[in-house]
Symmetry: C2
Subunit: 498 residues, 2 copies
């Protein structure tokens, strides 16, 4: 235990990583680590490095057979790159696309073009067969619908595997950002009695054999498992507010659920949200600052560490999509901020001057911005990410802080090209009396919000926060068309495989 394993010296690692041992790991190196190992070419004035004996495990992605030697491309999912294995053709029996193998051999710089390193194989162990006729993941292009139907196998395709890795690195960079800013990662409840957005799209949770049938839950019956009706969370915000009133800075990455009836390319019934909430904000721009800073950080990290995966996902549009990402993450170019009122004025002017009706719904102060309006603002008016702030109070939930003007609230939506709303946030109403009136005006029961009002009653502090849909973020970064390809195992109305 803790001893250096055979191949551990291949494990490339920043010496400052928060790991106690400098090189030794418990597990053998991945293909990503092997590909990053030092060159075996002779360096000036140094002894020629010896190619090292390594063991590689993974799956055959393709194989080219020649009379004497064959070339198998091996993947283990650790990187978008394959490792080229040079194998005596006599040893390749049974090696077809999808087979899992354990190979031993020597790793050295590749003399051929197309890859830096190759494995000259001495021994092949076939671990799991894969009938080339029957295998559902054939090498030809497979439709997204077909792959959704084969959800359990679809991460075997390059695109879906790249998405899983992009999620991982994006998650990590966001966590690094918030940890670094002194935020505490807190787990908020998934089952809850509250419906934060009040949209009536919450799923109900029951315990078979204990709860009454779902149809009779309109009045809480003592037979509920939790003693009252339980719903799946639609947002962790209210719970985070409770924690922010003692821990100051908190965030969570939590699943959220909406029984959405709409089948769009940007809605899921189950999705993940990063939500941050912190005390002692001064205004809504404070909240926008953290949003912009954290997302630019994530974009920068992705362009540093996930270029390979992004290229796989970008496909033929890579050049253009890289430009969009580079432009969005530019520190010198602050994202546009405008008020809802300004945005509506622009929309109205455009609508009035257009020859053909450019929108289904005429923009007007006091009306919601539709997807068509949001995209026009981000794509045509601004051509980049844009914060639209200070919406009319009537359009937004009760917890947003009333502005001095008496008819707007201190909130924002971040709109981005190709997607629309990516982030929503606000400063929260911290004034007890104002909030109490807003709860009543919204037709909510005061007793359900007793605890929420308590947060203002006892040492309440100005605070704010936001939520970013994680799948929307990776959709934006990757340019993937439908959000159903942005999560490994998507759920939407009528669809729940596995």
């Amino acid at each position: 235990m803790f001893s250096r394993r055979l191949f551990s010296s291949y494990n490339p690692r920043c010496s400052c990583l928060p790991h106690r041992r400098s090189y030794a790991t418990t597990l053998p190196p991945t293909i990503k680590q092997l590909l990053a190992s030092p060159s075996t070419k002779q360096q000036d004035g140094q002894a020629k490095p010896q190619p090292q004996k390594v063991e590689v495990t993974g799956w055959v992605r393709s194989i080219r057979r020649h009379a004497r030697i064959s070339f198998a491309m091996i993947t283990d999912g650790s990187t978008e790159k394959n490792l080229q294995a040079v194998v005596d053709t006599k040893l390749t029996k049974g090696l077809t696309n999808g087979v899992s193998v354990r190979l031993t051999g020597t790793l050295s710089d590749s003399p051929g073009p197309g890859q830096d390193k190759e494995l000259v194989v001495e021994n092949v162990e076939c671990l799991g067969e894969c009938d080339p006729e029957e295998y559902p993941i054939q090498k030809k292009a497979l439709t997204v619908d077909y792959l959704r139907d084969h959800c359990h196998l679809r991460t075997r395709t390059a695109e879906n595997a790249s998405m899983v890795r992009l999620r991982h690195t994006t998650l990590k960079s966001l966590q690094d950002y918030f940890d670094n800013e002194g935020f505490c990662y807190a787990h908020t409840p998934i089952t809850t009695a509250n419906d934060c957005e009040g949209a009536g799209e919450a799923f109900l949770v029951t315990a078979p054999g204990i709860d009454e049938p779902a149809s009779s839950t309109s009045s809480p019956a003592p037979s509920h498992f939790f003693g009252r009706p339980a719903y799946l969370t639609v947002s962790s915000q209210l719970h985070l507010e409770a924690l922010a009133s003692s821990i100051s800075r908190v965030y969570t990455i939590s699943p959220a659920f909406r029984a959405e009836r709409s089948h769009t390319g940007r809605h899921l019934a189950e999705f993940w949200m990063l939500e941050a909430e912190w005390a002692f904000t001064r205004n809504v721009d404070d909240v926008c600052d953290v949003v912009e800073d954290s997302l630019k950080f994530a974009l920068e990290k992705a362009s540093e560490n996930s270029k390979g995966d992004l290229n796989v996902l970008w496909g033929p549009d890579a050049t253009e999509k890289l430009k969009i990402l580079e432009s969005a993450k530019d520190e010198a170019k602050k994202w546009t901020r405008m008020s809802y009122t300004e945005a509506v004025k622009e929309l109205e002017t455009f609508y009035a001057q257009a020859k053909n009706k450019p929108f289904e719904i005429e923009p007007k102060w006091g009306r919601s911005l539709g997807s068509e309006h949001e995209r026009w603002i981000a794509e045509e008016l601004v051509d980049g990410p844009v914060f639209v702030k200070d919406y009319p109070e009537t359009l937004k939930p009760f917890y947003m802080r009333a502005n001095e003007d008496g008819n707007t609230v201190g909130c924002f939506d971040l709109l981005v090209p190709g997607l629309g709303e990516l982030v929503g946030g606000s400063v929260r109403e911290e004034r007890y009396d104002v909030l109490k009136k807003k709860v009543e005006d919204a037709g909510l029961k005061l007793e359900d919000y007793d605890w929420y009002l308590d947060l203002r009653k006892y040492g309440g502090a100005p605070h704010g926060g936001f939520g970013v849909g994680f799948e929307r973020l990776v959709k934006w970064m990757s340019g993937v068309e439908n959000i159903r390809e942005c999560i490994p195992m998507p759920r939407w109305q009528g669809r729940m495989l596995l």
Copy 2:
């Protein structure tokens, strides 16, 4: 944006942290960061550092008033330590326990005992009042039951705030460990058609207005929101197995749900689990190695970075509890491993020789280990963490790999003193025919496990994994008596506040 803010030079940070800017942050420094700022004492041969003007936000934890000056202890939840604020008594009007404040002043080394630094206050801004008579979080000792009833305020106590921070740092060190070992953090579904453990304790999820009443869901009706009955996940394992068959190494930190009817100190209806799964394991000891290594890493990081919070949680038993932690994390002392068969032999011998019946249930090969047996093994026999391996096949789920002996499976439970089972894991049955027979023998429907069998049919690889209950882990580390204090907002039968 991105400019250095007023106080950003106070922000202490390892220069190797994966953050692009070396010091500037978006937000002002926390009390934790201020307390870690450089000393204002003169160093040999250097100019005397000037005390810096800072702004501090937080809550008054206590205040001692004297005729001329007063001492207020300020917390912002970033650390278990308070910042002592030295305030002109004339400015302290309204400053009572729980009030939120913004203070400006100079931070310098404290001349008094008990703290390194203090804030000499120039200006006090009271942000939120807190009626000292009514405030539910009085300074006297409050019972755990009272605090559970005031769940939204309980992180204002030192113990509950320390638990939130301990969770954060433990989560972070576990993530660092797995990231470092080449694992990919993947989000697995929360709503699922599968009941991994088959224990019949899964919650049902319905969409009001779409689904049939819960009582009629025994046969899937087309009116289900997802087209079939949906449950809350009890384990992410099967989904992780699908991902591990392409990404090789995956882990998740996911909520899990059991409609537990038992009211013990170590069960919750909603809890968090870290589950890891990886391909190309050779045997169950490979899995134990990763468990031991990752947990020792988390213990070591906690003893480095969370000593203050652990001391708060340990209370008067700190010395003894530190010893237990130090012993468990000792790299040189490998955790005991024994087979179920050996463990039962020890239990039988002890049972036979004891004068008074030491267990409620007589231990016998083929029977489950009860909590009383598990704790005896960990506390009396071993006095430390112990892996019990290779349980009888009849006691374990269908997916565990059959051993060569024909009656046990390649699995383990990690038992720890004071708690019992902390981790469970196994190598999984990767042989298609063996697994198919096991599904049938378990009385499960083959068509429900088609996709799971596919993972073995097409390039299946030997693999294994484990799950650690996150609340159990922090309970073990902190020595906190009941698991309901190990999660900010606990849920159990009959209880779901907020």
